[in-house]
Amino acid sequence: MEGPSHTERQQSAPDLHDGRGFSREALDALREVASIGAGHAATALSEMSGQRTMISVPLVAVLARTALPERVSALSERIASVVIQLDGDLAGSTLFLLPYNVALRLTGFMMGRRVSGWGELEESALKEAGNIISAAYLNAIAEFLHIRLLNAPPSLVMDSPDRILGDAEVALAQGGESVICVESEFRLANDTLPLHGLFLMLPDAQSLRRMLAAVNVA
């Protein structure tokens, strides 16, 4: 089995941010935290799948919440979403979004067999994968900002982008107007297709200010 030390980074890519209150230095710091989180997520994927995992340099964007529907619709027509409420020193929520076919494949890696439909165990496996990958990002943020972050148990929705965002409305409403969007692509050694997904963090206004202050002095 290939261990996490075999995790590698592939080509760099331009960022998509529009700033939204983040200085260039703060965005650089945020990008670094996202890279560390993506590295942890790749390590987690490697552990879960037993395969060497490569990651692209994540694209980090700070978007207005109103830009979310367009961004999420671009991912796929059918999406699996693992939603987690934040607890601890930051408030808000995270969404881990995968195209439906990627969700099936990721669940297959978790279960060690091909998955073509959803029973209780398959849904639990996907929820746990989303939970573990989200935790990889949250742990990186917590360690970087020297804070304590916890999360509520995850919930899973599989539907169209519109309905996904509709169902997440309560979680979204608790967030502020800015969304931190990390787009990453993982490639497992024994699979020709990449696993492509979005990690969205929606801190409430106070939490965003706290993050901004921390990365601006980092």
Binding site: M1, M111, N131, A135
Partner: protein
């Protein structure tokens, strides 16, 4: 006689996975819990040799459950199994009374090593 285990995790997938790892190593799974409160109740009823404990669970979190279990039985042997591997949480769990901590996801060998450390 096989040593007994109570598995506490809100995800059925993780309970199933941990159960397979430990059963394969000769342990007997005597119970499962999906919430921290269930974990405390089932510990008192079952008195297992080992508890595996998630942190994030509905109703009552794992760290709170560890505090209640060790208040009831200071000799309880509890292994934390959580994706939230932040140093502050590891320290908090150990201070609450957990004997060791493995970060999810984990390979079976890493979990079994931790189990052996906890059981001494």
């Amino acid at each position: 006689m096989a040593q007994t285990v109570l598995i506490c995790d809100d995800a059925i997938f993780m309970r199933s996975m941990v159960g397979k790892i430990l059963t394969g190593a000769g342990f007997q799974i005597v119970g499962e819990a999906e919430t921290g409160r269930q974990a405390v109740e089932r510990y008192k009823a079952l008195r297992p040799d080992l508890v595996t404990m998630d942190i994030v669970m509905p109703d009552m979190g794992g760290i709170e459950a560890v505090k209640e279990i060790t208040a009831y039985d200071p000799t309880a042997r509890i292994l934390m199994c959580s994706a939230m591997g932040q140093q502050s949480l590891v320290v908090e769990a150990i201070q609450a009374g957990a004997k060791d901590f493995v970060v999810k996801p984990f390979q079976p060998s890493r979990m079994l090593e931790a189990v052996q450390r906890v059981l001494g």
